[in-house]
Amino acid sequence: MISAQTPPPRPSDVYFFATCVVDQFFPGAGMDAITLLERQGIRVHFPEEQTCCGQPAYTSGFPDEARKVAAHQLTLFPNDWPVVVPSGSCAGMMKHHYPTLFANDPVRKAQAEALSGRIYEFTDFLVNVLGYQPQDLGGDCTVVLHTSCSARREMGVHLTGRKLLGDLGHVTVAQQDHESECCGFGGTFSVKQPEISGAMVEDKVKALKATGAERVVSADCGCLMNILGHAAWKDQQEGRAQPTLPGEHIASFLLRRTSK
């Protein structure tokens, strides 16, 4: 069983909640995700007023600040369309933590609960709602997939990314050592405990590189920021001009593989 919930009928419209990281740091991933959805005949709506799900404050021990930011996002999705989020981590925040965050606010709690059922992580939406089966138009290549801890343990959607990559006929998906282990990002953890976080990302990048895959793909840009950031730093340290571990959001990879 891949789906964590019963898939609704195929919608004509969806909201796209890009996340602040994608909006500011990985806009290409957001564009590619939107394009991919549109190619499936879906109208994608991007609420201009969106900012951040509030997770950074929430996980750092500042729920009041998270609540203020989250309360704003609750107002962005008036129609009963699915909300697609290109990040397991931010989707997990909106789906699972918003109802808890507003436990003492009956009006917003009801809104949060209603919204919760409409939140979809991007790969989960492609596989389980759209039944999307990518047609691979690219040449042979080997990639390695990193799944975020939130996608894996909170959203339970760790199999959908693998399924999408598995559907690509010319793509081999390499298996890294300690696949399910955290990359060490963890939001403010990476700067509050830089020694431990640094050791975790070092081990993660080593494991990913050891597969010999030509690139890493992930459905979470937080992990990518950390993993690619360390891989590039290591390349700099060792004086390499070419990246030894390039990487991108799974939406970008899928779009390229399925485009002529």
């Binding site: 602040c20 500011q24 750092s60 343990r153 060490g184 700099q236």
Partner: protein, 480 residues
């Protein structure tokens, strides 16, 4: 042989120096490799015990509900337990603090003019630093669990709640025995090392005046103390010496005997990947008239030490569901990187991070609650479904919020910083306002070249973060 000395580390701040201690391990490739190997071994053993995901899930749900059921009735069960233990001839003592617990235990020792206490493995005795207190009172306290014996010989503390000496290599143990045990030559043959330990300990069981043990489950309806172990030393400690003192936390109670088998099964399978432990002791009374063996006196010391603080809060109470299997540390990417000693607390790893603040206060432990990426591996394997990441977030809130008048915890607000709180308020001010967010994110992309190349801890092992030249919203606008 005299009982080895224990380190004098009674009152200290685990948070202080945590990062430095963690860095020492992280920078040591040998230790990194060694912890990784040990944790991989334990994870593999556990996984082999739970081939059926559905069975595991239903057993975890059962374990959780048994623990929650018993915690909900805890005050009544404690009374029932005491009444039934007393009826069975077991003397019951209550200790609010580690000092009180030590006083009670040493009082019993003095009453019997005891010179030597042999100890089975007990994390609660580590929690109260009994060895140190006994030594100060002139009473020898000798660990008889092989792992505990090794760390005691080395003058260290356990680095893992189930495998106390997991940080030590075979060669280190061989050298330790050669140095510290009389008449022993260096050998790194594991069987020979175990035999050396056994020979020393066997004699001590017979000499000891007091046997001390922990308790895994205390059954209220029957007045029974259950003890899980593998080496048989627990049975020796609880039967050979004339007096047996058991010590446990007040949360280890179950109402009924039928609650024990599921918890026992979860415990041994989660902890060491064993279907069942080699020994399972059920102690219901001292030696009865006509019986040929067993201690003539049995005592139970019930320790609070911050547990009632956790108990008083509905969310924090879940901390007390723990059955001390150690699976959370075996699966923790942080514990795997830094080992147990870096934490500086009796209980390391994820469970240590959520229980230690109740025992030591947040002032001493607020630095530990940030040492998690909230990856959720601990919560995923916890046999009684303690939501460890959720509790860590709660503890962060308790630690970093402004001190107030009705704190749920000792040390609430200990990590409060006016500056950091102001930063988060500023962050919320921007991110709750679409206009301000649009402005700041536009400035970020427009002036991306102004981003510093050194960005604090982030750039210690990563390239600097730089916003993209165009935001997603700009790209969408251009596309039309």
């Amino acid at each position: 042989m005299n009982a080895p000395q224990t380190p004098h580390t009674l009152h200290f701040m685990p948070s202080a120096g945590f990062r430095a201690r963690a860095k020492d391990v992280v920078d040591n490739p040998f230790l990194r490799q060694s912890f990784r190997g040990a944790m991989d071994f334990l994870m593999t053993k556990r996984a082999a015990q739970f081939p059926d995901a559905e069975e595991l899930e239903s057993l975890r749900t059962l374990g959780e509900s048994i623990r929650q059921y018993n915690l909900a009735k805890l005050p009544d069960l404690l009374e029932q337990l005491e009444a039934n233990l007393v009826r069975n001839g077991i003397q019951v003592h209550w200790a609010e603090t580690p000092d009180e617990a030590n006083e009670i235990i040493l009082g019993i020792c003095k009453h019997h003019e005891a010179k030597l206490m042999v100890k089975g493995k007990s994390m609660v005795s580590e929690e109260i630093e009994l060895n140190h207190a006994a030594e100060a009172a002139g009473i020898g306290a000798l660990e008889s669990d092989m792992g505990e014996y090794i760390v005691q010989l080395a003058g260290e503390k356990p680095s893992h709640i189930i495998m106390p000496a997991i940080h030590k290599t075979k060669q280190e143990i061989a050298q330790l025995f050669a140095d510290k045990v009389e008449g022993v030559d260096y050998t790194d043959n594991v069987d020979a090392l175990i035999q050396i330990g056994r020979n020393v300990l066997r004699q001590k069981f017979l000499e000891a005046d007091i046997g001390l043990s922990g308790v895994n489950f205390a059954v209220a309806e029957t007045g029974t103390l259950c003890l899980v172990e593998n080496e048989g030393n627990g049975r020796m400690c609880t039967t050979a010496p004339p007096v047996h003192i058991a010590i446990t936390g007040i949360e280890k109670i179950v109402e009924k005997l039928e609650h024990v088998p599921p918890l026992l099964s979860l415990l041994t399978r989660s902890a060491t990947g064993q279907n069942i432990s080699t020994y399972f002791n059920m102690i219901s009374s001292p030696r009865k008239p006509g019986e040929k063996d067993g201690p003539s006196e049995v005592h139970l010391v019930l320790l609070d030490n911050g547990r009632s603080q956790a108990y008083a809060d509905e969310q924090l109470r879940k901390t007390l569901q723990c059955i001390r299997c150690g699976a959370c540390m075996n699966h923790c990417p942080v514990y795997t990187r830094i080992g147990g000693h870096a934490y500086g607390t009796t209980y390391p790893g994820p469970i240590g991070k959520i229980i230690s603040p109740h025992m030591l206060g947040l002032e001493a432990t607020s630095g530990l609650v940030t040492a998690s990426s909230l990856c959720g591996a601990c919560g995923e394997v916890c046999p009684v479904k303690i939501p460890i990441p959720e509790l860590l977030m709660r503890l962060r809130e308790e630690a970093f919020s402004k001190p107030h008048d009705h704190p749920a915890m000792v040390g609430q607000g200990a990590g409060y910083s006016g500056l950091i709180s102001a930063v988060w308020r500023g962050w919320a001010f921007v991110y709750r306002s679409p206009a301000l967010y649009r402005l700041t994110s536009w400035l970020g992309s427009r002036f991306r070249w102004l981003m510093p190349s050194r960005q604090g801890a982030w750039t210690s092992v990563r390239v600097p973060l730089k916003p993209a030249p165009k935001r997603l919203r700009d790209m969408l606008k251009e596309r039309g």
